[in-house]
C-alpha cells in the first residue's frame, strides 16, 4: 500500500466499522454498560507507542482496512472436525465459539453436571440470569480502546458458574475456533467465569484455526474466584499465523482462594495477553505461568498487572519465552505491593531463550514495594543455548537440529510440565516441536 492514511484515521475507521454492527438489544443494565463503553471509547486516546503500556508494541497491524465485524463463515466447521480436536480429559464437554460466535450445534454442555456452562449471549437474552449481571464488574468499561470496544459490543462468549462447594468433575473447555470467511474480521468474545465460595474447577481455553485466515480476536475474560475456591485455567493460543489476538484477563481472588493460570502462546502474527490480578481479601494465591514463542513475522506481548492491595496474599509469576528468526516478544510485568499489604509474597520471573541473532525481546519486570514486611523477588534472563549442552548431545550422536530442539523443549518443560490436562500438554508440546522444526535454521540444515 503506497498511499496510506494516517494511523489515527484508520483507527477511527476501525472503531466506526465495528460500532456500526450494533449487538442485539439487551437488558437495560447491559445497554447502559455498552453506552458507557462507547463514551469511554470517545475519551480514550488511540493506543500509541508513546504511551507506556504500548511502548514496545505497535497496533498498526490491527488497523488493516480488511478487518470487518464478524460475518457468517464461508464453510461452517462440521461436528466431525470439532470432535477431532477434542481432548480426552474433557469428556466432550465444551462450549465452541466459531469466529467469536457461540455455535450450539458444535458445543456439548449436557454433561457439565453441576457446573453451569452456557453461552453468555443466551444468558443475556434470557434476562433472568443473575450471574450475567456481574459482567463488567472487573473490567469496567475498558482500560484501553480495545477493552472498551469489547465492552461496547459484548454479546457472546462463555458464562461459567461453578456453584458453591461444587467440584467440577471434568475439565470444562471453551474452544475458540477461527474458520475462513469473507475478508478479515473482528471477533469480540467475552467470558465471565464465576467460581463460587468453596468451589473448584479446571477450565481449558484453546484458540485454534482451520486454515490460516486473517482475523482479530479481541477477548475480554473476567474471572471471579470466591472465598476458598480454586480455579485452574489453562490456555493454549494457537491462532492462525495471520491472526491478531488480544486477550485481557481480569482476575479477582477472595479470601483463601487460588487461581492457577497458564498461557501457552504460540500462534498469531500479533498477539498480546494482559493479565490483571486483584485481591479482595487476605489469603489469596495467584500462580501465573506462561510460555511464548515468536518466530519470523511474529510479535508476542505479555502484560502483567498484579496489585497487592490487601495483606497476606501471594503471587508467583513465571514466564518463559523462546525467540527465533526475526521474532519479537515483549514482557511488561508490574507487581505492586501497596503500603498496607504486609506479609505479601510476590515473585516474578522471566527467562528468554534466543535461538537466532535476529530475534528481539523487550523485558521489563517491575516490582514496586511500599510495604516493609514482605517476601518479594524478581529475575530476568536472556540467553542462548548452552554450547556445552549442545556439544554433550552431539557427542552422543544427536544431530545439531535435534540437539537444539531437545534443549529448547527442555527450556519450555518447566512451564509445560505444569499443564495438568495431559491432552493439552501433549498438544502444546507437539505444536512447539513443529514450530522448532520450522525454524529458519532447521530448514537451512535440511536443504544442506
Amino acid at each position: 500500500m503506497s498511499t496510506q492514511s494516517p494511523s489515527s484515521e484508520r483507527y477511527r475507521e476501525l472503531l466506526a466499522r465495528q460500532l456500526a454492527g450494533r449487538p442485539d438489544r439487551g437488558p437495560e443494565w447491559l445497554e447502559a454498560y455498552r453506552v458507557a463503553a462507547v463514551q469511554r471509547l470517545d475519551q480514550l486516546e488511540m493506543p500509541e507507542r508513546r504511551q507506556e503500556a504500548w511502548r514496545y508494541t505497535s497496533i498498526e497491524p490491527l488497523l488493516q482496512p480488511e478487518l470487518e465485524p464478524v460475518s457468517e463463515p464461508e464453510v461452517p466447521p462440521t461436528l466431525a472436525e470439532i470432535e477431532a480436536l477434542l481432548l480426552p480429559e474433557t469428556e466432550g464437554i465444551r462450549l465452541v465459539l466459531v469466529n467469536g460466535r457461540y455455535a450450539p450445534g458444535l458445543s456439548n454442555l449436557s454433561r457439565a453436571g453441576s457446573a453451569e456452562v452456557q453461552s453468555l449471549g443466551e444468558a443475556l437474552r434470557a434476562r433472568g440470569g443473575e450471574a450475567a449481571r456481574l459482567l463488567g464488574s472487573l473490567a469496567g468499561p475498558g482500560d484501553h480502546a480495545f477493552g472498551a470496544l469489547n465492552a461496547a459490543l459484548a454479546q457472546d462468549g462463555a458464562l461459567v458458574r461453578i456453584p458453591r462447594d461444587v467440584s467440577a468433575e471434568h475439565p470444562i473447555e471453551v474452544l475458540h475456533l477461527a474458520v475462513p470467511s469473507k475478508g478479515g474480521q473482528v471477533a469480540q468474545p467475552r467470558h465471565l467465569v464465576i467460581v463460587e465460595p468453596g468451589a473448584r474447577a479446571v477450565l481449558v481455553e484453546r484458540f485454534l484455526a482451520l486454515g490460516s485466515p486473517l482475523y482479530f480476536n479481541n477477548l475480554v475474560c473476567e474471572v471471579l474466584v470466591g472465598q476458598s475456591a480454586q480455579l485452574i485455567h489453562q490456555r493454549l493460543q494457537a491462532e492462525s499465523p495471520n491472526a491478531l489476538h488480544l486477550s485481557q484477563l481480569h482476575i479477582r481472588l477472595e479470601e483463601g482462594s487460588q487461581y492457577r493460570g497458564l498461557t501457552v502462546a504460540l500462534g498469531a502474527a500479533w498477539s498480546r495477553t494482559e493479565l490483571k490480578v486483584r485481591f479482595g481479601a487476605p489469603g489469596g494465591e495467584c500462580l501465573l505461568d506462561g510460555l511464548y514463542m515468536a518466530g519470523d513475522r511474529q510479535l508476542v506481548d505479555v502484560h502483567l498487572d498484579v496489585d497487592h492491595a490487601v495483606p497476606g496474599c501471594a503471587s508467583r509469576t513465571r514466564f518463559r519465552g523462546i525467540l527465533d528468526g526475526q521474532g519479537r516478544a515483549v514482557l511488561d510485568g508490574r507487581v505492586l505491593v501497596r503500603k498496607h499489604a504486609q506479609k505479601t509474597n510476590a515473585h516474578l520471573s522471566n527467562a528468554n531463550l534466543m535461538l537466532s541473532r535476529g530475534a528481539e525481546i523487550d523485558t521489563k519486570p517491575q516490582l514496586e514495594i511500599f510495604a516493609d514486611d514482605v517476601q518479594c523477588g524478581h529475575g530476568t534472563t536472556v540467553g542462548q543455548l548452552d554450547p556445552d549442552a549442545l556439544f554433550y548431545l552431539r557427542a552422543r550422536g544427536l544431530g545439531e537440529t535435534e540437539a537444539r530442539r531437545m534443549l529448547s523443549l527442555g527450556f519450555a518443560a518447566e512451564v509445560l510440565d505444569c499443564v495438568s490436562v495431559a491432552g493439552l500438554r501433549d498438544q502444546a508440546v507437539a505444536l512447539l516441536e513443529q514450530r522448532l522444526d520450522c525454524s529458519p535454521r532447521a530448514r537451512a540444515e535440511e536443504v544442506e
Partner: protein, 250 residues
C-alpha cells in the same frame, strides 16, 4: 583403530598440542597421564570434535576415516565415545528420551533397527545395574541434581548402552571417592573387549590400579614425553612428573 600423526592444536592462537603421535589397536587400553595444563583434556576434546580448537597440523584417522573432518555426532555414530570430565546438567531434558534418542541415532548408523520403548527400558535397567546407578535417577532430567559420582556413573552407563569401538575417558576419576572409583572401574572393565579400545586420560595413577593399561603415555608441554608399559605409571606414582619434564627439557 586410532592413528594420530603429528597433531598440532591451538586454542585462541596459542599452541597447546605440539605434535602428538599415537597408535591405538583394538583391544588395547592406553593411559594418557600428565600434569595439569599438559594438554590431556585438549586431546580428548579434539578427538570428540568439540568447537574452539584449531588443528594446525597433523592427521587423525579412526577406522580408516579422517576423524577431523567429521562433526561430533558423526564421530559418535561411528563408534567414538567421550566420557566427559564435567558432564553437563540438562534441565527439562528427560533422561530416558535422551538415552533412547542417542542409542537409536547410533543404532541407525550401524544399520540396526530402532529399539522400541519396552526393549529399551529393559536394556537401560540392565546397564544401570552394571554401574550401580539407581534407575529412579533416570526419571529426572539428564544429570540434574546428580552428585559427582552419579554423573560419572551415568557417563559409563551411556557408554555401556552405546557400545562404542573407542572410548575416551577424560578424568573419569576426578571427584570420586574410592568406592565410587571402584564401581566406575568395574563398569569400565566389564566393557573391555578384543574389539574395543580405550584411552584413559588421568592425572593420577590411582585409577590405573583398577583399570589396567597396556600402554602408558606421559604428556607434557603438548608432547608425548615418554611411553611405556604399566610400570611407567607406577614409577610416576613414586617419582612424580618432575623428572620426566626435566629430562625432556635437557
Amino acid at each position: 583403530m586410532l592413528s594420530i600423526k603429528g597433531l598440532k592444536v591451538a586454542v585462541d592462537g596459542k599452541e597447546i598440542l605440539k605434535g602428538i603421535d599415537l597408535e591405538v589397536q583394538p583391544g588395547e587400553t592406553h593411559a594418557i597421564m600428565g600434569p595439569n595444563g599438559s594438554g590431556k583434556s585438549t586431546l580428548a576434546h579434539v578427538l570428540a570434535g568439540r568447537d574452539g580448537y584449531e588443528v594446525t597440523a597433523g592427521t587423525v584417522t579412526f577406522e580408516g576415516m579422517d576423524l577431523l573432518g567429521l562433526p561430533p555426532e558423526e564421530r559418535a555414530r561411528q563408534g567414538l565415545f567421550l566420557a566427559m570430565q564435567y558432564p553437563v546438567e540438562l534441565p527439562g531434558v528427560n533422561s530416558m528420551s535422551f538415552l533412547r534418542a542417542s542409542l537409536n541415532a547410533v543404532r541407525k548408523a550401524r544399520g540396526e533397527p530402532e529399539m522400541d520403548a519396552a526393549a529399551f527400558l529393559r536394556l537401560v535397567r540392565e546397564k544401570a545395574q552394571l554401574v550401580d546407578l539407581d534407575p529412579s535417577l533416570l526419571k529426572r532430567s539428564v544429570n540434574s541434581g546428580f552428585s559427582g559420582g552419579e554423573k560419572k556413573r551415568s557417563e559409563i552407563l551411556q557408554m555401556a548402552l552405546l557400545e562404542p569401538r573407542l572410548a575416551i575417558l577424560d578424568e573419569t576419576d576426578s571427584g570420586l571417592d574410592i568406592d565410587a572409583l571402584r564401581v566406575v572401574a568395574t563398569g569400565v572393565n566389564g566393557l573391555r573387549s578384543p574389539h574395543r579400545a580405550m584411552v584413559v586420560v588421568t592425572h593420577y595413577q590411582r585409577l590405573l590400579d583398577y583399570i589396567e593399561p597396556d600402554r602408558v603415555h606421559v604428556l607434557g608441554g603438548g608432547l608425548i614425553l615418554r611411553s611405556g608399559g604399566k610400570a611407567l605409571a607406577l614409577e610416576l606414582e613414586d617419582r612424580g612428573y618432575g623428572w620426566i619434564l626435566e629430562e625432556a627439557a635437557a
